[in-house]
């Protein structure tokens, strides 16, 4: 992503953490500053500070750290659902450049397709068939995690539906009672008013 410096560049990452057992999420980023003289992005930006903040679905901050112009970060979370990842540049030096731009390369590894299989094969000394089986196992594990997440969501949805049902019931009863009470109040108030006026 690109944006004017001095303001936070944030992404809401719609990433689900399907499993309750916390798993770490490695991420890395790299920034490039726009150079007006050469009209291109400089290959690296020394001296630039970036603040990385990750919030879990409950809004709780899971990671909040300052890194340089390039950095690697890892966060773990215990709640499944949508996390927010915000990269914020707070460098005052950059704010002086009006019309400046900053390009951020962000890479977050989620899922089995980011595994490096040739590396795993070399490390664990697997034959080709064993490696393929390992890949299938990783895929199935990812599917299982997602299914667990959906089961959790269904449970939450059921709880929400039941609570909504309760609240609608109580609200209807309360509104009927208010209606009856105001009717009674109206009658009594008007009756005493007319009696005072000697019309009844």
């Amino acid at each position: 992503g690109e944006g004017p410096p001095g303001r936070g560049i944030g992404w809401g990452a719609l990433g689900t953490l399907p499993d309750f057992v916390s798993s770490p999420f490695p991420g890395n980023y790299r920034t490039q500053l726009w150079d007006k003289q050469s009209e291109s992005f400089l290959p690296s930006t020394p001296g630039l500070g970036m603040h990385v903040e990750v919030k879990d679905p409950d809004g709780k901050v899971v990671l909040s750290r300052q890194y340089g112009s390039e950095g690697r970060f890892t966060f773990t979370s215990h709640t499944p659902g949508e996390h927010q990842i915000c990269l914020h540049s707070n460098s005052t030096r950059m704010a002086l450049f009006a019309g400046g731009k900053l390009r951020v390369h962000l890479d977050i590894q989620v899922g089995e397709h980011t595994n490096n299989y040739p590396e795993i094969a070399a490390k664990d000394k697997l034959t080709e068939l064993q490696l393929r089986a390992r890949q299938l196992l990783d895929q199935v594990e990812q599917i299982q995690k997602e299914q667990n997440y959906q089961r959790y969501r269904e449970e939450r949805f059921r709880m929400t539906s039941e609570s909504t049902n309760q609240r609608v019931l109580w609200w209807s009863i309360a509104q009927t009672i208010i209606l009856i009470l105001t009717g009674i109040w109206q009658m009594r108030h008007l009756k005493s008013f007319f009696e005072a006026k000697k019309l009844v």
């Binding site: 490696l131 393929r132 299938l136 008007l190 008013f193 006026k197």
Partner: protein, 161 residues
């Protein structure tokens, strides 16, 4: 795909490194687009919510670039796959489509939940507003009626004198 916000639509534009627009759609809820890159360079895509007054949007997007990296890049797979290996390959492809369906379902669930929460807020405000109006109208009716009869009393007094 648009997950939360307003009418769940967004503008989208895709440009190649020369600035030629490859894809441009306005106010779409979801779409998919496949293209072959004709040259190297930076391709730009932009999701725009400028037409919306105040609703924020959450958009899901993903890229699938090229084929899967081969498991064994060092080898040249000239020999045919054994039966076990080709079975593994077809299972791998099938599982990939299962994961794709799961992603699709997860997005639909998030979108449904967002709509439900939006509806919940609107119903809550409506109910509170309605209760207040009910009280105000019923109390107002009484005082209005009283004021009719109060006026009549003053006219009677004037006639008397």
């Amino acid at each position: 795909q648009v997950i939360t916000g307003g009418h769940y639509d967004v503008d989208c534009r895709l440009e190649d490194p020369d600035g030629i627009v490859l894809y441009k759609e306005m106010k779409k809820q979801y779409d998919s687009f496949t293209f072959t890159a004709s040259r190297n360079g930076t391709y730009k895509f932009c999701f725009s919510n400028e037409f919306s007054t105040f609703t924020h949007k959450t958009v899901y997007f993903d890229f699938q670039v090229g084929e899967d990296p081969p498991l064994f890049p060092s080898e040249n797979r000239v020999t045919a796959l054994t039966q076990m290996e080709s079975a593994c390959v077809s299972i791998h492809e099938a599982l990939k489509s299962v994961i794709d369906y799961q992603t699709h379902f997860r997005l639909r669930e998030a979108q449904g939940r967002s709509r439900a929460e939006d509806l919940n807020t609107r119903v809550a405000y409506w109910s509170i507003g309605e209760a207040i109006i009910l009280l105000v109208v019923s109390i107002g009716q009484v005082f209005l009626l009283k004021s009719f009869f109060s006026d009549k009393r003053t006219t009677t007094t004037r006639v008397g004198s």
